[in-house]
């Protein structure tokens, strides 16, 4: 399959789980992938495992400058930024009445603000290069089906392409 042959892409949260699976599938489909993650060790391993068309970049998606830098770096490395997947995110499992403000904010900073920065700076690169692209945001089942003790993931990540 070469559905994505020659495409320049960014996947956040790409060192493990769903993000890594998406990065792997993109590579198999012919794309080049800038993998973003906080975990430097896992990121190195993933990038090495995926081969020449994979680049790892340590990125904190809750920091807008990190995200802006990653989108620009991908466009420079691949010649264009065609596809961005905002996958980095996590939820806190806790009874609502025990959930601290700090924990709540840390989830929102990554899973909500991180997606906003990702969409904003992906779109900026795509507008600047004058070539449209695709943005995919990965959400959670908990956005559709609230679950006991999983409040912070509820209704925070609308998905789109």
């Amino acid at each position: 399959m070469d559905f994505l042959k020659g495409k320049g892409t960014v996947v956040t949260g790409a060192a493990s789980g769903i993000g890594k699976a998406i990065a792997t599938a993109f590579i198999e489909a012919g794309a080049s992938v800038l993998l973003c993650d906080l975990n430097a060790k896992a990121l190195d391993d993933a990038a090495r495992e995926l081969g020449d068309r994979a680049i790892g970049r340590v990125t904190d998606v809750s920091d807008e400058r990190h995200v802006e830098g990653a989108m620009r770096a991908a466009r420079e490395a691949f010649g264009s930024l065609d596809i961005v997947v905002n996958c980095a995110g996590f939820g806190a499992i806790s009874p609502l009445t025990e959930l601290t403000g700090d924990k709540w904010r840390s989830v929102q900073a990554v899973s909500l603000s991180g997606v906003f920065y990702g969409v904003k700076h992906a779109a900026r690169q795509m507008l600047e290069q004058g070539r449209p692209g695709v943005i995919i945001n990965i959400s959670s089942v908990n956005a559709r089906q609230p679950g006991r003790d999983r409040w912070p993931t509820v209704r925070q990540r609308p998905a789109s392409t």
Binding site: T9, K20, A21, I22, R144, A159, S160, T161
Partner: protein, 52 residues
Amino acid sequence: MRRPVAAEEIAAAAVFLASDHARSINGDTIAIDGGSLTRGYPALLTGLKKAS
């Protein structure tokens, strides 16, 4: 499905959405949950319990 969805199954949908085959899909939300919303997510609850 009586199991949580695998990461690779979500990735397969991401490849489709990112490809030209999905060029007329825009601004939409697609559930890739094995239909578990119809059953109250029993498999997810079991999976989370096992993981924790």
